[in-house]
């Protein structure tokens, strides 16, 4: 069967193709991957095509790129999976990073963020003679996040990074989690403290893009959410994020439904006068339109069951 692949070229040394979407057509089989196609272009049609690749087996992380607008690992993406009935597919470099040439991006930003989280084990106390004792469960749990091959797909499509380049980002935060969850690491408290700050765990907008595009099932967003929980447990409670979560839980526990007005007030912080004043206008506007939710919240009849669920499940986890 025939495949049509459109590649976004970026080559300041070749003005004729620079910026253009160049189309290549060739015969492929059921199992041909996007990477196979690009290598074919590079080897037989146009040797100037720039693409990073190495292992072809989704372990080296070199071939991250956007296919039909979404970040993927080219060696793991079958053409038939992304092209229904032979429709042309578009291949572009990863997002949120400067482009060096064609599909090759400058991952300096990516690595900078990784370095930012002090990505090395920091054991506390003297080194044992043999190995640190650690349960198989704790090590097996880390395999999930250690599966990360640093391909950049999550960073490419992160919607928070798109608007805020200071955000530490999904890959680095997942890496940070790897140490927070490692029983041998002695810096957990400090790590959580730093991540709790501006541009850290609370800046994730929970859009699930990183979970969706990760080729290795690392689920960075889930790790970030877990660290939010751990940060609160560790006593870091002075963020609007932690106040938001607490307020949300409180109103659902109390009445079975969310109390949006209280949520807005409590997340900001009762004593945060400038913050409260900043949201006053919308509060007033809502009131005037008849849609300011009742500050006392809504209550469902079955609320005692909800309270019981809270008590029972939260009691279990203690």
């Amino acid at each position: 069967m025939q495949a049509t692949v459109r590649v976004r070229r970026h080559n300041t040394e070749a003005p004729a193709v620079h910026g253009k979407l160049q189309e290549f057509k060739f015969d492929v089989s059921e199992n041909t991957t996007v990477l196979d196609a690009l290598i074919k272009v590079r080897e037989e049609i146009d040797g100037t095509l720039g693409v990073r690749c190495s292992c072809r087996a989704s372990i080296c992380g070199s071939c991250g790129m956007r296919v039909n607008g979404q970040a993927r690992l080219a060696c793991k993406t079958k053409l038939t999976d992304v092209s229904r009935d032979g429709a042309p597919i578009t291949v572009e470099p990863m997002g949120n990073m400067p482009v060096i040439k064609d599909l090759i991006t400058d991952m300096g930003i990516f690595w900078g963020k990784i370095r930012q989280v002090e990505p090395y084990l920091q054991p506390a106390g003297p080194e044992p003679k043999g190995e640190y004792i650690a349960s198989d469960e704790s090590m097996a749990h880390l395999v999930g996040v250690m599966n990360c091959i640093m391909c950049g797909a999550c960073v490419s499509d992160c919607t928070a990074l798109e608007v805020d380049s200071t955000f530490i980002g999904p890959a680095a935060l997942a890496k940070a989690y790897r140490f927070v969850a490692d029983p041998r690491d002695g810096a957990t408290q400090d790590r959580l403290g730093t991540l709790n700050e501006r541009s850290g765990i609370w800046d994730c907008t929970r859009c699930y893009y990183c979970v969706q595009v990760c080729p290795k099932g690392v689920a960075p967003m889930e790790r970030i959410m877990k660290m939010r929980d751990l940060a609160m447990e560790a006593g870091y409670n002075n963020t609007s994020g932690s106040r938001h979560t607490k307020s949300f839980a409180k109103s659902v526990k109390k009445g079975g439904l969310l109390n949006e007005t209280m949520l807005a007030v409590e997340s900001t912080g009762w004593l945060n006068v400038p913050g409260q004043m900043a949201q006053a206008p919308i509060g007033i506007k809502s009131l005037l339109k008849g849609k300011l939710p009742n500050p006392l919240g809504h209550r469902i009849k079955a609320r005692k069951h909800i309270r019981r669920v809270f008590d029972k499940v939260e009691g279990e986890s203690k």
Partner: protein, 301 residues
């Protein structure tokens, strides 16, 4: 088909026009629903963040209530849909986990067996009602309008929990409904991205940038309105649009892009009066958009 309708927390609070427009549309389409007054909030991902099992238990309780009545669940909020679908996937993949959760809700006389189907009104209309059937009910001419879709993250990702592998056509469901109404589809870059609502109260600068980017892009591409199946997206894209524009657009110029709820679009196309659909309640005025429609209708006559 009868459904167990979960309007969600916000539809009866901060976006009451979603509730009223849904009622108006369901009535006219003859879709029977029973509102689930015993359902709790789904957790919206926030409760899950704090304690996943807690969130899952609350949702399984909701599933069990619907199952007891033998009804599939209908949601009108992308976030409710996403959270419920994820919870459902988790318990279906892990029978031990479901057993534990059933242990908690047993006291209320509930036990979830796994048969509840959860679908957003958008999917119900497209997949069960059918686009062709819908078209027959569309009597108002919307061809003078250009409409941009905004799906809402939780309706799109993670795709395996939301059935996209089984029903690939779901990917473009909102696009196709817009086209079915006769309006011009504005297929802009951000339609599948994040509106910023989850960080509105946490990092408002970033949240507003997202609002400005997406409403601005759609407007620049020629949209007269943006339609969304998620009231949380609506809250951000509508309620904070002016502030977002002031802070992020060149010269702080307003964007003025009305954000309409999915049932409001259906209702408009079906010829229901705008007042009944709650258009007066929006922060970004829908007056100009509605005036154009009126003009269009008058011109034809």
């Amino acid at each position: 088909m009868k459904y167990a309708w979960w309007p969600g927390c916000v539809a009866r609070g901060a976006t009451p026009e979603l509730y009223t427009s849904t009622v108006a549309v369901l009535e006219r389409l003859g879709i029977e629903v029973e509102e689930m007054h015993d359902f709790s909030c789904t957790g919206a991902g926030v409760l899950q963040e704090r304690n996943r099992k807690l969130g899952d238990t609350l949702n399984v309780r909701n599933f069990a209530i619907a199952e007891k009545q033998g009804l599939p669940i209908m949601t009108i909020c992308s976030t409710c849909q996403g959270v419920m679908s994820q919870a459902h996937q988790r318990v279906m993949r892990d029978p031990e986990y479901l057993k534990e959760i059933n242990g908690v809700i047993a006291e209320e006389g509930l036990a979830y067996r796994g048969t509840t189907v959860i679908k957003h009104l958008l999917w119900i209309l497209v997949e069960e009602f059918g686009v062709e059937e819908l078209k027959k009910r569309f009597v108002r001419d919307l061809s003078c309008l250009s409409v941009a879709p905004f799906y809402g993250c939780y309706l799109l990702r993670p795709s395996d929990a939301l059935g996209y592998d089984r029903v690939p056509a779901r990917e473009t469901s909102l696009d196709r409904v817009i086209e079915a109404t006769g309006a011009r589809l504005i297929d802009f870059a951000g339609k599948r991205k994040c509106c910023g609502f989850p960080i509105l109260l946490i990092n408002q600068d970033n949240s507003l940038k997202m609002v400005a980017n997406h409403t601005g892009a759609a407007k620049d591409d020629g949209a007269d309105a943006m339609v969304t199946p998620c009231p949380l997206c609506h809250l951000n894209l509508d309620g904070y649009q002016d502030k977002a524009a002031r802070k992020n657009r060149p010269d702080g110029r307003k964007i003025d892009l009305p954000i309409i709820h999915f049932p409001q679009l259906i209702g408009l196309a079906m010829g229901i009066e705008p007042d009944e659909l709650g258009f007066k309640k929006h922060m970004v005025s829908t007056r100009d958009m509605l005036a154009r429609l009126k003009e269009q209708a008058a011109a034809v006559r």
